[in-house]
Symmetry: C2
Subunit: 463 residues, 2 copies
């Protein structure tokens, strides 16, 4: 049977007015009198619901009238304009089929529930207004990212989830194993015998696809990853999850400036796409979740992002060091309070901070001529601070090896990475965007648990 989506009707009402259509959705509210009733139905395609009018001329008038919030209906009827009413049109039902009733203890009655409570029913919360908006926008952001890169010919690479290396030592890792935990086989020296494990060695969940991504950038020029990454960190904050998705583009024949150009263009593209495709949801977030959201996104869209060096940033911050809990000095990492001061107070727009001291950045970042800094960049945005971190990569074999030695990395683990410098090395750069942080930024939602369908955090792995 041809089902018409409510979104389709709202976007193209002229096509449907005075015609018969069938919609399928769930009751948001129902009120009935003796001879007729009103049902407000949401079908999940659109932020606004559809009003349906039904009459006692229907055989199942009583069955319909006793339905609870959450019941599933299929409604066939004529779409008519309602110029006097709040909503622009309604369906005059000819037939209402009750697909599935909703038990009296349905947890989502009309009253508002706290986000905390809704987290305990992650299988039902997507039926609420807020989570309808969050997860539709999450989906749109994901697609906008793919579209942005694909339009420019980037190759999407699925870097591996299970990994035998600890990448950049970027964080605590989850172990992946098929060994019998009740009776872990041991080698002679008493350590676990990973030769008996599924892959014949110790394996973990990836913390970053970057190094794998670089191998593809040296073949395709421009590539991006978009996949899940993991941190087994026992941090109970509103910003950290154990499982999250990350986007990591990597571009060859490109330097740090190109990298920043790409990051800036990407952020603007995503924002523009979501504002165009989900204006109702974005208006809702601005009204009910975060009142500064619309103007903040507008600002990002219309700014040329500022670009300053870390050294310059420290100079500026030292002048107002008394404002900060953590005082800055050259060599220290920037805290969120410093980042937000730069982007919110000083520049009032997004800011790239570049050329950080090499000691506080990863081994693979390109060393600058000054011998002290690396060609790194962090993108700071009002309202959140750092949203993107990237760098030009060290493409000089000797410098890279020297730095790896300083960092006590085992060269044998990085043979493949060194090969990229041995066979046709190019200047290249890349960055990482935490997908959930991006969704939080665009929706104004304050807790990462509320932008992930089924969040995984320390102690929590429901459904």
């Amino acid at each position: 049977m041809k089902i018409t989506k409510i979104k389709e009707v709202f976007r193209n009402p002229q096509e449907y007015l005075d015609k018969e259509i069938t919609i399928g959705g769930w009751i948001r509210s129902l009120r009935d009198s003796k001879t007729f009733g009103f049902i407000v139905i949401n079908d999940g395609s659109y932020f606004e619901p559809m009003q349906v009018v039904y009459h006692d001329t229907m055989e199942n008038f009583e069955q319909i009238s006793k339905q609870n919030v959450g019941a599933a209906l299929m409604v066939t009827g004529t779409l008519v304009a309602t110029p006097q009413a709040k909503q622009p049109f309604e369906i005059q039902a000819r037939e209402v089929v009750v697909e599935g009733a909703s038990a009296p203890d349905y947890p989502l009655q009309k009253k508002r529930h706290s986000f905390e409570y809704l987290r305990t029913i992650s299988h039902l919360r997507p039926r609420t207004n807020t989570f309808q908006a969050v997860f539709r926008v999450r989906s749109l952001i994901a697609f906008a990212i793919h579209k942005f890169f694909q339009e420019q010919g980037f190759v999407y690479v699925h870097t591996p989830i299970i990994t035998g290396s600890d990448a950049e030592g970027a964080g605590e890792m989850f172990q992946v194993t098929t060994l019998d935990m009740k009776n872990v086989p041991q080698t002679e020296d008493g350590s676990p015998d990973y030769s008996q494990d599924f892959f014949g060695k110790e394996t973990s969940l990836t913390v970053s696809g970057q190094l794998n991504g670089e191998t593809f950038a040296q073949a395709f020029g421009d590539i991006y990853t978009f996949g899940p990454t993991f941190r087994a960190e026992n941090s109970n904050t509103t910003r950290h999850a154990a499982e999250f998705w990350m986007i990591e583009p990597e571009i060859a024949f490109a330097d740090l400036e190109d990298d920043m150009d790409l990051a800036e263009a990407m952020l603007k593209y995503i924002i523009k796409y979501v504002l165009e495709e989900a204006p109702e949801e974005m208006k809702f977030f601005n009204s009910f979740v975060d009142k500064g959201l619309a103007s903040r996104l507008e600002l990002v869209l219309n700014s040329d992002f500022e670009r300053i060096t870390y050294t310059k940033a420290i100079e500026l911050l030292e002048k107002v060091n008394d404002k900060f809990e953590f005082k800055v000095t050259w060599g220290s990492d920037l805290q969120t309070e410093h980042e937000r001061y730069l982007t919110e107070q000083l520049y009032k727009k997004p800011v790239f901070v570049t050329d950080y001291p090499k000691e506080i950045k990863a081994f693979y970042m390109k060393q600058n001529a000054d011998g002290k800094t690396v060609a790194a960049m962090d993108c700071l945005v009002p309202g959140i601070g750092e949203i993107i971190g990237g760098s030009q990569r060290e493409d000089d074999m000797d410098k890279l090896r020297a730095r790896m030695e300083e960092c006590n990395l085992d060269e044998g683990e990085y043979d493949f990475y060194l090969d990229l410098r041995k066979y046709g090395s190019t200047k290249h750069a890349g960055f990482g965007l935490g997908f959930e942080r991006c969704v939080m930024y665009l929706t104004g939602m304050g807790n990462i648990r509320d932008v992930v369908p089924f969040p995984r955090t320390a102690g929590t792995c429901d459904l």
Copy 2:
């Protein structure tokens, strides 16, 4: 610096002819004489390379001439038409900058290498013609899938990778843990003490996002997942990997017919997209990898897929049972030989087989009125057999519970799933498409290890 992609030049030569451009890429071949030389360069954006001519008027003429295959160059020069030559144009170089030399032991010299050998250098094989084509097409297929669903308003859902349940018992699972493997903490009865594990319970890598996906379909109507899934199965075949990506759409207010319509439309959309976007790669596959590919895909594109019941299929197969290694009888599962007979010999086009015996299908599939079969469907395609498996889902609470009991499933684990039948149940359906199998199908590549960037199979987890 503005870099022009070789693909851009080939797609819009009129825009670039007789103008100066800069390209960045890697040497495929180089031959020089005393006063000039030719370089064939690939930049990863396009299947065809670019020819570059350089002259001894350049200061670094000798440096260029001694470069090895695989070296990275940036070339600036004028694009000129070459009507007498094999290639349509070439770059008359004004400047050639050697970005990075390629060591003499570069493994990818001109001779052809076996796929087996190339698997041992997964960081370099994307630089070969075949893997350039495979991974560009893989990227395009991924995008085509997103585009197909997004254009119809489907919501993309990231179902969790780490899971506390064993889903449908669909296969052997990898355990995910942060417990100390050298000294696994134990409970009093000697079993591992998972209360001390990261999530406070035993967790594994997902085998399917379907059940989570259903919760979202009951809120948004139409959703799809696209993410990695895992099987810890010790099978060493050309079709199985331990880590692979899967697409699982789920549609509400929809039955098995709608499900088949969706699957058929999706397959045709993907094929059409890839043929349009990567004609050079597809021609290459048809010429050098699988000579029947083009006609097979053309056939799929232009067929109305056949739809027959399992019972009918068994009748047809029993007539020719002597052809098969495994004889069919009603109740047995179809083997690849039977599937291929149906789709290749009998119908000569894609075939949906529907309504399988419930005993050989999963508990959640909708029971038919006959009491014997379920509303399942497998999509069989010439050249491969089953590519998609799906079903209408059981939406009747009582029938679902009865079937779960028959299958010895613990109801407590499935509370959330039963809730979907308690609160506004709808007829709904979905299917699963193994992404790698789809890439194999569209490229003709015969081994799953050759369509995954960094394959994970029993005993193998490189890079």
